[in-house]
């Protein structure tokens, strides 16, 4: 096993893994681009595979939403597109090839998923549609994609933010393409949303969770080496008193061993 100390990505994966319950169904996209791919795909996969090897042997990993518990050891490189032939040929337990497919999305079959966004706000709303006015935007982005479904039909959502800067963490997103907690849980209820919503926001600086009753984001832990001032300075809304916030929990030697020896021996997912 590599003697290199645990990376932040490995630490994030271990934090996530501890939050998954046995029997859950976790949905990852297949994100592309360096940082986006690590946050949106690699960390989630490592986290789920770690949970499966520890307390959650009945967890189902849905790679690209389609491939049920694929055999990553059969991959020569990590594919970088969702629906091409490499994935078709990857050994798995089931393959979703149609909509509606094996998972009853709207019944709430998906326990959790992972989103990233260009903006996220204090209520946990996310935006991947536009910066500036919708009909004449400063920047037109890709569109809502599956964010509306992630943030309402999945039982909970982990928002994975590869960049933590003031322009990403804003008071109010320019366009709500995934709904957080406007008005808290009561507010979601009034919007007709029976379950779901963001659980955590994971960034290079910290992990947020939510006061879901009151409907705002709060810092759950700060990553080692990041100061409260750094964090507040990079965030476009007030984080309150950060003095009691713990440092993000390190992973155990056993967790690190499982990641490096069993899950990702070829460093195909996370380099260290």
């Amino acid at each position: 096993m590599s003697a290199a100390p645990a990376t932040l990505y490995e630490t994030m994966a271990a934090c996530l893994a501890r939050d998954f319950a046995d029997g859950e169904v976790g949905f990852t996209g297949l994100l592309t681009g360096q940082a986006a791919a690590i946050y949106g795909t690699s960390i989630p996969i490592v986290a789920m595979e770690l949970a499966r090897r520890q307390h959650a042997p009945n967890l189902t990993l849905l790679l690209a939403g389609c491939y049920h518990n694929p055999d990553f050891s059969a991959l020569e490189t990590m594919p970088d597109s969702e629906h091409d032939a490499t994935l078709r040929d990857l050994p798995a337990e089931a393959q979703t090839y149609d909509y509606p497919g094996q998972w009853a999305l709207k019944r709430g079959d998906i326990s959790f998923g992972f989103s990233s966004a260009v903006q996220v706000d204090r209520q946990g709303n996310i935006n991947s549609v536009c910066i500036g006015p919708h009909d004449r935007p400063k920047v037109r982005l890709v569109g809502p994609i599956l964010q509306p479904e992630h943030m309402t039909l999945f039982r909970r959502e982990y928002i994975m933010m590869p960049h933590h800067e003031r322009r990403n963490f804003v008071e109010k997103v320019d366009y709500v393409s995934g709904v957080g907690y406007p008005g808290g849980l009561e507010g979601r209820k009034e919007l007709g949303l029976d379950w779901g919503g963001p659980a955590w926001v994971i960034t290079p600086k910290c992990i947020f969770d939510f006061d879901r009753e009151r409907g705002f984001m709060k810092v759950r832990s700060i990553h080692p080496g990041v100061t409260a001032e750094d964090l507040q300075g990079a965030t476009g809304f007030d984080l309150g008193d950060l003095s009691g916030v713990p440092t993000t929990e390190a992973l155990s030697a056993e967790e690190l061993r499982i990641i490096r020896e069993e899950i990702d021996p070829r460093q195909m997912l996370l380099k260290h």
Binding site: V25, P57, N58, P91, A92, A94, Q102, W103, R107
Partner: protein, 300 residues
């Protein structure tokens, strides 16, 4: 890695998951691939006041009606195809002992699609003038929110428990279908996606490696399944595509015995309440007949 949980149980244990008064859907379609071993076990355990919601039904409903297990049936068809009316069902309805809520055939499928979608209704534009609406207060008229045209909201099927009979499953509840499936098998897939308590009886419990070899055909993954029971010939006397054909001799015997409740007593004693278990039932059918109805799926 710790071993995933086995959901394997006995037929008796699985039937325990269906208490009196359950709103139950039985897989298969018309006279095809019905979970008949499960039906017989329901009768053996004396279940009462069941509501069966389905797409098209036959021997399943008829036998449950004969045994007095049913309060209500919601479906498009109860009959025995070439053998005509389902006699016990017919008698129970004519006697006012069994309530039927009639739905059109494709609308019956739509009701399960509604449940799959987490919707409480399915929008149907073509029911005006049909007595399906006259006798069903649960169907609500409403205007199309876009055009204003007359529409009917048909209630979701919303079964509390779904039971299907499949060719093969592993002990985790991954269910595999033959590549060349037909409508009855697709109906099973739909039903299994419309409910959170899905019981699968299967011809064969296969190792997980078999599942992985047929991943493309695993239409019902483990997280959709609550219980798995190995029941070879579990649909007998109805057919299982790719495994065995309908047992025409037995079906004729069933129909001949169905002339009256009295004449049916002998059939029930011999094939339902009498057998100690499913294998005793199969022994009473006999190896020769079971061998004769074998089917061959593609060897490709």
């Amino acid at each position: 890695m710790a071993a995933p949980k086995s959901k394997l149980m006995s037929l008796t244990e699985a039937v325990d998951m269906v208490p009196d008064g359950t709103r139950l859907a039985l897989g298969g379609f018309a006279v095809y691939q019905k979970p008949m071993a499960f039906v017989r076990e329901l009768i053996r355990q004396g279940r009462r006041d069941l509501t069966v919601v389905g797409s098209a039904n036959s021997y399943d409903i008829d036998m449950l009606a004969a045994a007095g297990c049913l309060a209500t049936v919601e479906t498009s068809y109860v009959g025995l195809e070439k053998y005509g009316l389902a006699r016990h069902f017919r008698r129970a309805v004519e006697a006012g002992e069994l309530k039927v809520v009639d739905y059109p055939e494709m609308v019956s499928w739509d009701r399960f699609r509604a449940s799959q979608e987490g919707l409480k209704f399915w929008p149907i534009p073509f029911l005006g003038g049909n007595d399906v609406v006259t006798y069903n207060d649960a169907i609500k008229e409403f205007p199309c929110p876009i055009t204003g045209r007359r529409m009917f909201a048909v209630p979701a099927a919303d079964p509390q428990v779904v039971v299907i009979h499949a060719v093969a499953a592993d002990d985790r509840g991954n269910v595999v279908l033959p590549a060349r499936r037909l409508l009855p098998q697709s109906g099973d897939v739909l039903m299994a996606r419309s409910c959170d308590t899905v019981i699968v009886t299967a011809e064969k419990i296969v190792p997980h490696s078999f599942i992985k070899r047929h991943a493309r055909l695993v239409e019902i993954p483990s997280y959709r399944t609550k219980a798995v029971v190995e029941v070879p010939f579990g649909a007998h006397p109805t057919p299982v595509l790719g495994r065995y054909l309908a047992d025409e001799d037995h079906l004729a015997e069933y129909v001949a015995a169905s002339d009256s409740a009295d004449s049916f007593k002998g059939y029930m004693d011999r094939f339902v309440t009498g057998p100690a278990d499913h294998f005793d039932y199969l022994d009473r059918i006999g190896a020769k007949r079971l061998a004769a109805i074998q089917d061959m799926d593609s060897l490709l």
